[in-house]
């Protein structure tokens, strides 16, 4: 197997007393597409958010491209903490793109300006080149003709596609999707999933939290089921979704299928 693009080792995260992630070990090879399933509150979002350091892990470590992030610091009691400097996290976030459930487009900018923003402000790309690149990304998600629209004028599906283009413009090595279609009306889910599938076909590496089991089955190369802040079951889509071994996975899938056709 190729050297992992991303690896988490014993990743833990607590909010005060509440331990949400209890030691997650996951290795992501280049080109892998991992679907993350789990009940509400099981820690799926927290896990994704630890990978681009929107949340700082309480313990454990993250390796990106073979390099361990952060620096060690001795605690008074002799234990060791990892500390993360803001400049390093800023660089990591450029390499790990994120797409949010609520899109979080910048409402004061047009679709085009949204996509250009990271190029201009973070990468310092000159306006003409940034514009060209942003237009190409908008075209890729099928929104070239909406470039001058403000987010308020776009449908939910269009907003999410702009958000995907915005993330892609930064050339991320890894893409994180946190329930990208959960805030959408059912008839708009397809257009967003279509874009994500086309990215999968390009061989991009991605982690996707989703409740769309069918999509996970067809697009993911691996599925992991998180329960109580741990990876409870992991395997190919066929193994986890069709032949789950563990009881909680089976129960979760049964609940999801209860009302399907």
């Amino acid at each position: 197997m190729a050297e992992p693009l991303l690896r988490t080792i014993g990743l833990r995260k607590s909010f005060g007393e509440r331990e949400v992630l209890r030691g997650i070990d996951l290795s992501v090879a280049p080109g892998e597409r991992i679907a993350i399933l789990g009940a509400s509150g099981s820690g799926k979002s927290t896990f994704l958010r630890c990978l681009n350091f929107m949340e700082i892990p309480t313990a454990g470590s993250v390796e990106l491209g073979g390099r361990m992030l952060g620096a060690e610091r001795k605690r008074r009691d002799g234990g060791i903490d990892r500390v993360y400097a803001e400049p390093e996290l800023t660089r990591v976030r450029q390499r790990v793109g994120m797409v949010f459930q609520q899109f979080n487009l910048f409402p004061h900018m047009t679709a085009l300006e949204n996509v250009m923003e990271g190029l201009r402000t973070v990468k310092g790309v000159k306006a003409p080149a940034a514009r060209e690149r942003a237009m190409a990304e908008l075209a890729r998600v099928g929104l070239a003709d909406h470039a001058e629209q403000y987010p308020a004028r776009l449908s939910g599906g269009q907003k999410q596609r702009v958000a995907i283009a915005r993330a892609l413009a930064m050339d991320p090595e890894l893409l994180l999707f946190d329930e990208p279609t959960s805030a959408l009306d059912p008839e708009l889910v397809g257009e967003v999933l279509g874009v994500i599938r086309s990215l999968a076909e390009e061989g991009r590496t991605m982690l996707l939290v989703t409740h769309e089991l069918g999509f996970a089955y067809h697009v993911a190369t691996r599925v992991i089921f998180i329960a109580d802040g741990e990876i409870h079951e992991s395997g190919t889509p066929d193994e986890v979704l069709k032949h789950p071994q563990r009881e909680r996975t089976q129960a979760f899938l049964a609940r999801h299928r209860e009302f399907s056709l």
Binding site: F106, H108, M109, E113
Partner: protein, 225 residues
């Protein structure tokens, strides 16, 4: 029945006009310094660094809770004793109202900044923006737009508060009106006209602000690149 006679006021129109110019000069100076200083105070208070947040908070609260007249007297009568500078009425007025309005604008800025959804910060950070970049490019432009009504409110309040400068013999609109009233024995007419001038100027400003708000709303949301 009182017989109105505006002719004496008209004869002194140049004095009133000069008063208006002086009022606008103090208000304009206070805005020009107060807004950037207010932003700086707000950012310091929100910085999360105690050595910045605490002094900023103190300045803000101090100038919001002490009467403006006391501040004006302090800058005009007390400060020159301390640092031995000649304080003109204009300097004292400009200094007082710059800092005082900065304290109020700081709270307006802070309110606008904290009203922006967390998701906006997250989207900016997720692109790799530093906190200052996120503030400048994403948060502030949206916050300022939301602040326009509160901001206008403060600016109007400021213009009205500047009437206090008459107490240190700065020849603002109210001071001039008072002079004319004593000279002509026509206080009713003079102060009616003075009130009318304040009303007109402030109304014009509000209409302009309303217009600006509407423009920003129509274009979706536009910021200049």
């Amino acid at each position: 029945m009182y017989r109105w006679d505006f002719l004496p006021v008209l004869a002194n129109a140049d004095l009133l006009l000069q008063g208006l110019v002086n009022t606008l000069a103090v208000t304009g100076t206070a805005l020009a310094f107060g807004i950037p200083l207010g932003l700086a105070l707000a950012l310091a208070r929100l910085s999360g660094r105690r050595w910045l947040a605490w002094p900023a908070g103190f300045v803000i609260e101090f100038f919001r809770t002490t009467p403006p007249l006391v501040q004006l007297f302090w800058f005009f009568f007390a400060l020159p004793v301390l640092i031995r500078v000649e304080m003109t009425p204009f300097m004292a007025a400009a200094l007082t109202f710059s800092i005082q309005s900065a304290a109020f604008f700081a709270e307006v800025f802070r309110g606008g900044i904290v009203s922006i959804e967390r998701g906006q910060w997250e989207a900016a950070r997720a692109l790799g923006m530093t906190p200052p970049q996120s503030m400048r490019r994403i948060i502030l432009p949206q916050a300022v737009k939301r602040m326009i009504p509160a901001f206008m409110e403060r600016a109007i309040e400021l213009m009205k508060t500047t009437t206090l400068v008459a107490t240190v013999s700065y020849a603002d609109l109210l001071f001039q009106a008072n002079e004319i009233a004593q000279k002509t024995f026509r206080p009713l007419e003079v102060f009616t006209v003075a009130a009318g001038i304040y009303f007109t100027v402030i109304l014009l400003f509000s209409l302009m602000a309303r217009q600006l708000e509407r423009r920003l709303a129509v274009s979706g949301e536009s910021t200049v690149h």
